[in-house]
Amino acid sequence: MKGGIDFHTHPLLVREMIERHPELEQAARKTFYIGNNFQPLEIFLRELDISGLDHAVVLPIDAARTRGAMVYSNEQIAELCRMSDRLIGFASVDPRREAAVELLEKAVRELGLQGLKLAPAMQEFYPDDPNLTALYRKAEELGVPILFHAGMSWEPGSRLKYGHPMRFEDVAAEFPKLKIVLAHLAWPWVIDAVALALKYPNLYLDTSALYFDNPEDFLKFAMRHQVPLTVFERSLRHQIVFGSNYPRVEIKNMARAVRALGFSDECLELIFRANAEELLGGRP
């Protein structure tokens, strides 16, 4: 397998961005709730190198309304992506903003961002809220995928109820041309998320799940015990993408854990590279 994409990273430790935008320190510590030391961008890229990956999707979260902070604005994500062609920027908008649709269009058409990140628990909305129809329609029209946080959330104040997989079914069903990714295998509701993915080919799962033990043991529990690995290999191999959730876990550790699960080489190639490229419309 050559190269690949980490479909789920948060660039919260990038020191250069903290120096340029001091408010991002508070966003990292108080809003996203991560305690690691800030690091030069070079270290992020070396993480990709030693994990055998070429690119990373970098995600913001518009939590201005609910948490009083932007965990990177769309403009800051675009600025970061200009520092390295190995970074693939996604946008985030608060679906309850009046101008949410326009902001997404601007982020894609003017800033060059390639997807939309939504965090129902942190942004406090239900994915099947009918008020989001226009936003989903716009993402579909723009041809960009939506990466949803799903399942459990670590941040204090974020409620699990917003991330239950069943709240995503209407989106998958009503927007069949819209590609959506449920992050973190929607843990602990992995079987529910798998049921949705089996039914809806436009629904993907990312591997960025780690809630106890360590990456290898946790993923074995989720992807071999909670659901047999054969289900992912045989039925969902085109709907799984590698994601680490860096910096809540190092990319190297999650990559090693996914590779240790027992997938075929063909399936690993799909998980680490081809499926992500498909989601990104053939890019990067």
Binding site: Y33, N36, N37, E42, I43, R46, W154, F212, N214, D217
Partner: protein
Amino acid sequence: MIIKLKHYEVRSRKDMEMIDVTGLVEEAVAESGVTDGIVFVMTAHTSSGLLVTEGIECLERDVLAHLERLAPKRPPEGVYGYWHNRYLDYDGRLGFNAGDHLKSILAGVSCFFPIADGKIVRGGRQRVYFVEFDGPLARKMMVQVIGERREGGEG
């Protein structure tokens, strides 16, 4: 009495790596002006080490391999499984690098050398290594020089 503290950033490139920092220690001593005294070197991190050994690549590999054998990243089975494998609320993430912390303890986090005539006194084969156990990361290393400047000395 001269007391000078210098901070360095050491950037590792790999998961585990031996980085020769002897030149940085010599630099800090030279800049301090101390001719007779002592120099302390310390890593500021608990998943990295600071040690002294012979500066050859084969030995670097052996040091890393045997520390990994003694304190593996993969948790041992049974009663020696790592309690550190759990969510750390102060960090917003799980701790699962107990093996790297243990390697740091085994390797040690500091070393010192005498200074005479403005130079560190060390064995001909001794080199100072910053040892990364959980990289790549930008790490902090401190070098403190304590001593006196003797007039006519080389410092």
